[in-house]
């Protein structure tokens, strides 16, 4: 073996590498080729290195240099091709390794609060912003809290306005599912001295067969404010502020008309200017420009007397909304039974 032989074999190997390496199509193939030409064992470079010791001493440095140049040439070829292959492989991975992301996972779906709960929370939060607390009371009430203390004595005509579901406890017709949230007013005033600023949301019951317009179960939100000098103007202003916040519309107007409730005097029906047509008249407001939302009034002195509050020292207002009614208006729901039906297609819509 001579230096010339060594050089010839390295040249031959390099010529071969100049063809093979640029034609390599993967990183793995490149790695193989790199090992074959310049690896530590059984490569062209390794064989040449092994052969150096058999050369005459004078030729050895030249042979070493030749091996070094061979390795550098191969490395340059590999490096150049490696970048190309990496780019080709990255391009290929987009199709080769792809996953269809539209298959999706199906497990994590968001749940839903009932539309009544969402409405209740919205109203609660608005009144909390005005400084109110949220009061609660039992759903099964006694005659005193549901009727008598609210200035509705037995045989009062207002009782026939409210068909009551009674339970078999106490005397006949003494214990009932509350027909409105107003008994929470009584319980609140019985349990804490004024001033009082509360809203009382809750479930209420009437003995009505479920149909498009009636439901045996529905929800109200009652408000009660008792303070030293609270006025009907405060009532009207509070309702108007609330309505503007709820509908996020500072142009909303409120309208109050004389009405009758046994537990307030004076009493008013409350309406807001139609949030859909702004008073022009549309289907939602029955072309009146106004939407009736509930009732309100100044707490009747008889109610104050029933709970031992001096009506000369304190005065107050109360109001009530139907939560289903509010949601029906806002979202165009035609039938109240939708809220009791619990069709998941409805529940999942909100």
């Amino acid at each position: 073996m001579t230096l010339a032989d060594e050089q010839a074999r390295l040249d031959a190997a390099l010529d071969e590498a100049k063809v093979a390496i640029p034609n390599a199509t993967s990183t793995a193939a490149l790695d193989d080729l790199e090992r074959r030409y310049t690896g530590r064992r059984s490569s062209a470079a390794a064989a040449a290195t092994e052969g150096i010791k058999d050369l005459p001493a004078d030729d050895r440095p030249k042979a070493g240099k030749a091996v070094h140049e061979f390795k550098a040439a191969v490395a340059a070829l590999v490096t150049a091709r490696r970048a190309e292959v990496a780019a080709e492989e990255a391009a290929g991975a987009a199709t080769r390794d792809r996953v269809d992301p539209t298959i999706g996972g199906h497990a994590r779906r968001r749940g839903h609060l009932h539309l009544v709960t969402q409405t209740r929370r919205e109203l609660e939060d608005i009144f909390i912003g005005l400084g109110y607390r949220v009061a609660e009371g039992p759903e099964v009430e006694d005659d005193w809290h549901n009727f008598e203390a609210l200035n509705i004595p037995p045989a009062h005509p207002a009782r026939s306005m409210q068909d009551t579901i009674y339970v078999r406890l106490g005397e006949p017709e003494q214990v009932m599912l509350r027909t409105h949230t107003s008994p929470v007013q009584i319980r609140t005033m019985e349990s804490q001295p004024p001033p009082i600023y509360v809203v009382a949301p809750g479930r209420t019951y009437r003995n009505e067969t479920l149909d498009a317009r009636h439901s045996p179960v529905f929800h109200q939100l009652e408000g009660l404010a008792v303070d030293r000098d609270i006025t009907m103007a405060d009532l009207f202003g509070t309702i108007e502020t609330f309505a503007r916040e709820l509908f996020d519309d500072p142009t909303i107007r409120t309208r109050f008309r004389s009405d009758y409730f046994p537990y307030t005097e004076p009493s008013a029906e409350l309406a807001v200017s139609c949030v859909f047509c702004h008073g022009e008249g549309c289907r939602v407001c029955s072309h009146t420009g106004w939407i009736e939302l509930g009732g309100c009034g100044m707490v009747d002195p008889n109610v104050f007397q029933a709970v031992g509050i001096d009506p000369e020292a304190w005065q107050g207002f109360a109001f009530g909304f139907g939560l289903e009614r509010l949601a029906m208006i806002r979202y165009g729901i035609d039938e109240i039974r939708t809220f009791v039906d619990n069709d998941v297609r409805f529940l999942e819509q909100y």
């Binding site: 996972g105 017709e173 405060d234 529940l347």
Partner: protein, 792 residues
């Protein structure tokens, strides 16, 4: 209350536009539910005389009616049964237009051509009566335009009157409000009936004067017959059906003056006397509607001189002394009954009438004689009445106007206004409220027809109504002494609901009346019964939320949605402790999962399982940050006996979860595994909470060890986890079961459970020796406590 404008105008010269009148009524609290102007839309409808009625050849229920239309003849097909020869009826020929804009065409009905049609009151826009063809006054000439014949060029306001305003249930009352609103005079003519020579004295005995504070009887000879057109037209427009001149007059006065009257056939009473008494226990009488009524001692009766009941006072008369076409003399009753008494009897007997509706709200005791006089005046004109000169009027304790102090300062303090004395006084006077004095010394005397005006605040409402709610300002009162917000309990309820929403559950709101059997399925017998349930089978209040959720699941499954994740947060009811009348109310939260968890093709689908339910149970506990709670197997009524679990915190069980058993599923027709969790919210809340003091996360590396044990099936994995945690103390960061298997080698009743334990010390890197010692400590504890063996 239907008030025709033509009638209102008899009392006040109102010529404002209809829209303004409607708006004014609404403002003062007389809510207008409808405005009818039948005459505006009716074109070409005429009175026609029925000449002959023959059966329709092709239809059993139809007749062919030949008509004299005034200018010719016509034949119509008719479905009503009250048509007879000689009758005068409203006839709409082809081309005529009816209310609602309907225009008639000539068309065949079952093969016979109908040349237009005969009309019911409803088809003419006169109330709801559609029971037959309208019977027109026979004196009308055929061919007369029906608008003229019925006085339909009128406006009828249909007003919803609130229970506190009996005075507004009559035309005069509506006219009074309108006169005040439009600043017009109100003039109510004083009636004066001509009297005859013959007096027929009658005796009236009031045995219950507290129930009947005033009773006036007046006698007249009458000639029975139909009412004149003008009178029957008014009744029709007000929604009542004309019957006979005497009955029509009593109804007319009722509508005009809000004073119900009753006419007895004098000759059918046992002598000219009346006894007003309370009923005997169990006494019976048959009312005009043919129903025999069983009476109670609280019921007030109007009886003849022999004490035989002739009427249930203020509610309905009896058949014995009902006026008929043979009646020659009447005793007219005009009375004032105590309102609550009428209301109680009416409610108990479930018997309501135009009279009872007025008496139970409160009529005018001072209006009793005027109403009787007005009736006699009308009877003289319409029934040739010869009125006996004297009336008997039992009125032992005359009612006078109350005198109420009214302070202008108080008016302004309640309303938030700055009204002056004059405005306050001027607002009350048009309502016939007499006022004297000024400032805080005003004395107001409201009329006796306003029983709702008893107190200062009632007058303040009148002022507000009169000055208009629109003139009251808008201010906002805010509390000075409290911070708005939710209570802790209310916040926690939101947290629980939000946690369930976060894992995909949809909130339901179910009716809390359920079948007792549906609760018995869950071992609950301690329930509260509903006295008058909406549906007889759903007769108790729910003591669990699960029956409601199961019903929702069944409904949705039937609609093609079997895979459900539902929850509800609401009140449940248990029977009260001895001596109490209020049920024990608790707030529960429950979730129900049904059907399949669908993950294909990414992962296999699987049915919902117990672990899903237990996950929700621990989710609830974790949402409220409960400390050291324990989940253990439990046999729960209504659940699969081997697939239930309870969660205890402190020493209390606060939640259950598991797979529901066959009983509840079969009851609701559900198939396939259904799992549920139910917890008592306040019990959850009362459990110890995690310490929120900050713990520094250890910066040292963890060591993981795997341990596999063979234990009896009786040993729950959760118990081994607890044992390992207890044994290894604060160095345990996590214990996780990663494998469970059973095999023949292990033997029956045994299983292998393998755990990965992650250890980490807060203050140093654990050495191999540390880990080995901890490992042995864990093994020893499990082997000893659970009779386990370590798998090599």
């Amino acid at each position: 209350m239907r008030a025709p404008l033509s009638w209102i105008r008899e009392f006040t010269p109102l010529d404002a536009p209809v829209d303004d009148i409607e708006a004014a009524l609404n403002r003062v609290g007389l809510e207008v539910e409808g405005v009818e102007q039948p005459g505006l839309e009716i074109v070409g409808v005429r009175a026609a005389r029925v000449v002959d009625v023959v059966k329709h050849p092709n239809a059993d229920r139809l007749t062919l009616v030949d008509l004299d239309t005034g200018d010719g003849a016509a034949r119509v097909v008719c479905g009503a049964t009250n048509v007879h020869a000689g009758m005068l009826a409203p006839y709409a020929p082809a081309g005529a237009t009816l209310p609602g804009g309907i225009t008639l065409e000539r068309r065949p009905i079952k093969g016979e051509v109908s040349d237009g049609m005969l009309l019911s009151p409803r088809e003419l826009g006169l109330g709801d009566d559609h029971s037959g063809i309208m019977d027109l006054d026979a004196s009308i000439a055929p061919g007369t335009d029906v608008r003229e014949a019925l006085g339909l060029d009128d406006v009828i306001f249909d007003i919803s009157v609130t229970p506190n305003r009996p005075d507004a249930m009559c035309v005069v009352g509506v006219a009074r409000e309108l006169a005040a609103a439009f600043r017009l005079p109100l003039e109510i003519p004083v009636p004066a009936a001509p009297t005859g020579d013959e007096d027929r004295p009658i005796g009236v005995v009031l045995e219950a004067p507290d129930r009947c504070p005033r009773y006036l009887g007046r006698v007249a000879a009458v000639t029975m017959g139909p009412s004149p057109a003008w009178l029957s037209q008014r009744l029709v427009k007000a929604g009542l059906r004309p019957i006979s001149n005497v009955v029509d007059v009593t109804n007319y006065v009722l509508l005009e003056r809000n004073q119900p009257l009753h006419a007895f056939d004098l000759d059918r009473l046992a002598g000219p006397g009346i006894v007003v008494r309370l009923a005997e226990p169990g006494e019976r009488m048959t009312t005009l509607d043919g129903v025999e009524r069983v009476l109670a001692p609280e019921d007030l009766l109007i009886c003849d001189a022999d004490r035989r009941p002739q009427a249930i006072a203020g509610i309905m008369g009896g058949g014995d002394s009902e006026v008929s076409d043979r009646t020659r003399a009447i005793l007219l009753e005009s009375a004032y009954f105590e309102a609550m008494g009428i209301a109680r009897t009416s409610k108990r007997l479930k018997l309501r009438s135009e009279s009872s509706a007025r008496f139970e709200r409160g009529t005018d005791p001072e209006g009793v004689p005027t109403a009787a006089e007005r009736a006699m005046e009308l009877l003289a004109a319409t029934a040739a009445a010869v009125v006996a000169p004297s009336a008997v009027d039992q009125y032992p304790r005359p009612v006078t106007r109350p005198r109420i102090q009214l302070r202008t300062s108080r008016v302004n303090r309640i309303l938030g206004t700055a009204l002056d004395d004059q405005t306050v006084l001027d607002s009350l006077r048009p309502l016939d409220i007499q006022v004297t004095g000024t400032g805080d010394e005003i004395v107001a005397a409201p009329p006796t027809f306003r029983p709702d005006l008893e107190r200062e605040v009632d007058l303040i409402e009148e002022v507000a109504r009169r000055v208009g709610f629109d003139s009251i300002g808008r201010t906002v009162a805010r509390p000075q002494e409290q911070i708005g917000g939710l209570s802790h309990s209310q916040r926690d309820r939101r947290v629980l609901a939000d946690a369930l929403v976060g894992v995909g559950c949809a909130e339901t709101a179910t009716v809390p009346m359920v079948a007792p059997d549906a609760l018995a399925d869950f071992g609950i017998g301690d329930t509260v019964e509903v006295a008058n349930p909406l549906r007889s089978e759903e007769s108790v209040l729910r003591a669990s939320l699960l029956p409601g959720l199961l019903a929702v699941a069944a409904t949705n499954a039937a609609r093609g949605r079997p895979d459900l994740a539902l929850f509800e947060l609401g009140t449940v009811f248990f029977s009260p402790p001895a001596g109490a009348i209020h049920p024990v109310e608790r707030t529960h939260v429950a979730a129900l999962l049904t059907g399949t968890v669908r993950r294909r093709p990414v992962e296999p689908d699987r049915a919902v399982d117990v672990h899903d339910a237990v996950d929700l149970m621990t989710l609830l506990a974790d949402a409220l940050e409960l400390a050291d709670y324990v989940v253990e197997p439990e046999a729960i009524p209504g659940y699969h006996p081997g697939r239930g679990a309870r969660l205890s915190a402190g020493a209390r069980v606060v939640a259950h979860a598991g797979q529901l058993g066959e009983g509840p599923l079969a009851r609701f027709g559900l198939e396939g595994p259904t799992v549920a969790v139910e917890a008592d919210v306040e019990a959850l809340r009362a459990s110890p909470r995690r310490d929120r003091a900050f713990r520094v996360p250890s910066p040292f590396p963890p060591s993981e060890i795997d341990l596999a044990f063979v234990v009896s099936e009786e040993v729950p994995a959760g118990a081994i986890v607890s044992t390992l945690r207890d044994a290894l103390g604060t160095t345990v960061e996590d214990v996780r079961l990663f494998d469970e298997f059973r095999s023949e080698q292990l033997g029956p009743g045994q299983r292998s459970l393998a755990f990965t334990v992650r250890l980490r010390a807060p203050d140093r890197t654990l050495t191999q020796a540390d880990v080995a010692a901890l490992r042995q400590r864990g093994i020893d504890a499990v082997v000893e406590r659970h009779h386990a063996t370590l798998r090599a």
